[in-house]
């Protein structure tokens, strides 16, 4: 079975967020990582009943706060002021990470430097000896849900693929990523290898030309 591109061009960041949002089942409990993954929230339908978790101690997080809604005691993991949805709850950090580590969330969406064919994730450290390492909740979130989805550009600024045979950056977690949502395609990490679920502005054959691992057309 072959699949044809579902769009004529690669997805821009917002289109990618919308694409990922469409795959989040109704009523899911979801943690959206800092940065680009945060934008997924904007594309969840109002009736999706998705409950957002923020690792600094809240379920039922609402949109970014504006104006009079800004409350210094209410921030998300990115330290951005947010709001509270009806049915929210607050809990302390140990309870919040118990929720993550215990696998209670349905979906975690994370950014990445690299993802390997086995679902290894590298997203916390460039390995640069001069860099000050900082991990935050990344290693916890990497194991925090049945469905860990990565959202990233498929290639870095130099054109090198970020979906790789083996991660060269320091790892965040082993075999933890289920799907990889990129501007060029959506990939699923399977026991049998990397499957392409959908392409954007390219064919699987074209992707295969730029990626090192064999791709399984879904």
């Amino acid at each position: 079975m072959t699949i044809s591109a579902s769009t004529e061009a690669p997805l821009d960041r917002r289109a990618l967020a919308a694409r990922l949002a469409a795959d989040i089942p109704r009523g899911s409990y979801v943690n959206l990582g800092i940065g680009q993954p945060t934008t997924v929230a904007e594309f969840l339908p109002a009736d999706a009943e998705v409950v957002l978790h923020t690792e600094n101690g809240m379920l039922g997080m609402g949109p970014e706060a504006r104006g009079d809604d800004i409350d210094d005691d209410l921030v998300n993991a990115g330290k951005i002021h947010v709001t509270e949805m009806p049915g929210a709850s607050y809990f302390h950090h140990a309870d919040s990470f118990a929720m993550i580590r215990g696998g209670h969330l349905d979906v975690c969406v994370l950014g990445a430097f690299q993802v390997s064919v086995r679902g290894d994730l590298a997203n916390w450290h460039t390995g640069d000896v001069d860099a000050i390492p900082a991990v935050g909740g990344a290693m916890d979130l990497a194991h925090g849900a049945e469905n860990v989805y990565v959202m990233m550009t498929l290639f870095d600024r130099t054109g090198a693929a970020k979906l790789v045979e083996e991660c060269t950056y320091p790892l965040t977690g082993l075999a933890c990523v289920r799907r990889v949502y990129t501007d060029h395609a959506v990939f699923e990490i399977r026991d049998t290898g990397v499957a392409v679920l959908e392409t954007f502005g390219c064919t699987v054959a074209q992707l295969q030309g730029r990626l090192a691992m064999p791709l399984i057309p879904a």
Partner: protein, 237 residues
């Protein structure tokens, strides 16, 4: 997913497989989900492993479940009570297994399961029969014993009030094991006195966030109604 709200305890207990490990809340009568335990018994699942602080009292609740021959093993801290005759008799007859766990270790093993912790080192029990055969380890000059997470297929708990998102609050010492058990099972069923609309529980006061609750049933039975329901349950067995 927000919890499924069902009308009766029996609907809440549909599909419990034989051999299931079941966490059951309560310390004495306080916080014990009698309506759910009775429904579990009526459901007919066998070879259950029951985790509770005790091993049943009198002829009701967990004792009735045990008397009905549904329980293969009890994991608890304190089986022996003046009215634990149902368990006592079967245990002495070698017809039911017992795993005895110190109360704090029981709570912590359940918490560990819910929190994704595989095991932990506790000072409780070091040098005692209950630590025999378990790994010991000295950390910072103190001796500890390794205990592992206790996960379950099903948790039956009793809370006081729920909202439709599944957030729970408890009442006084009826809180006991409920909040940790809710986190440690594949399916958590909560029996509550009332279910209010979303927004009806202060987010600062939620004890069990809705993410941990799968099925919810409102069942505000007083002692008399409870006795009546038990009689009816016996009649239909």
């Amino acid at each position: 997913m927000a919890p499924v709200i069902v009308e009766t305890p029996d609907e809440a207990l549909v599909g419990v497989p034989d051999g299931a490990t079941v966490l059951i809340g309560g310390f004495g009568n306080a916080g014990q989900p009698f309506a759910l335990i009775d429904a579990l018994r009526r459901g007919g699942a066998r070879d259950l492993v029951v985790v509770n602080n005790n091993a049943g009292n009198g002829n009701h609740g967990i004792a009735a479940l045990i008397a009905a021959g549904r329980v293969r093993k009890v994991i608890c801290s304190f089986p022996r009570q003046k009215d634990s005759w149902v368990f006592d008799g079967l245990y002495r007859a070698g017809q039911i297994e017992l795993e005895l766990v110190p109360q704090g270790t029981l709570a912590e093993r359940i918490r560990a399961a819910g929190a994704g912790i595989g095991g932990f080192y506790t000072p409780t029990g070091v040098g005692t029969l209950l630590a025999e055969g378990k790994e010991h380890r000295t950390i910072d000059g103190r001796e500890y014993v390794l205990e592992t997470a206790l996960r379950a297929d099903l948790a039956l708990i009793k809370a006081y009030r729920a909202d439709r998102a599944g957030n729970l609050v408890y009442r006084k010492t009826a809180r006991n094991f409920g909040p940790v058990m809710a986190t440690a099972a594949t399916v958590t069923v909560a029996q509550v006195a009332e279910i209010v609309d979303v927004g009806g529980i202060d987010p600062e006061s939620v004890v069990t966030p809705g993410i941990y609750v799968d099925r919810l049933v409102a069942t505000d039975l007083g002692p008399e109604q409870l006795a009546e329901s038990l009689v009816k349950a016996e009649a239909t067995r």
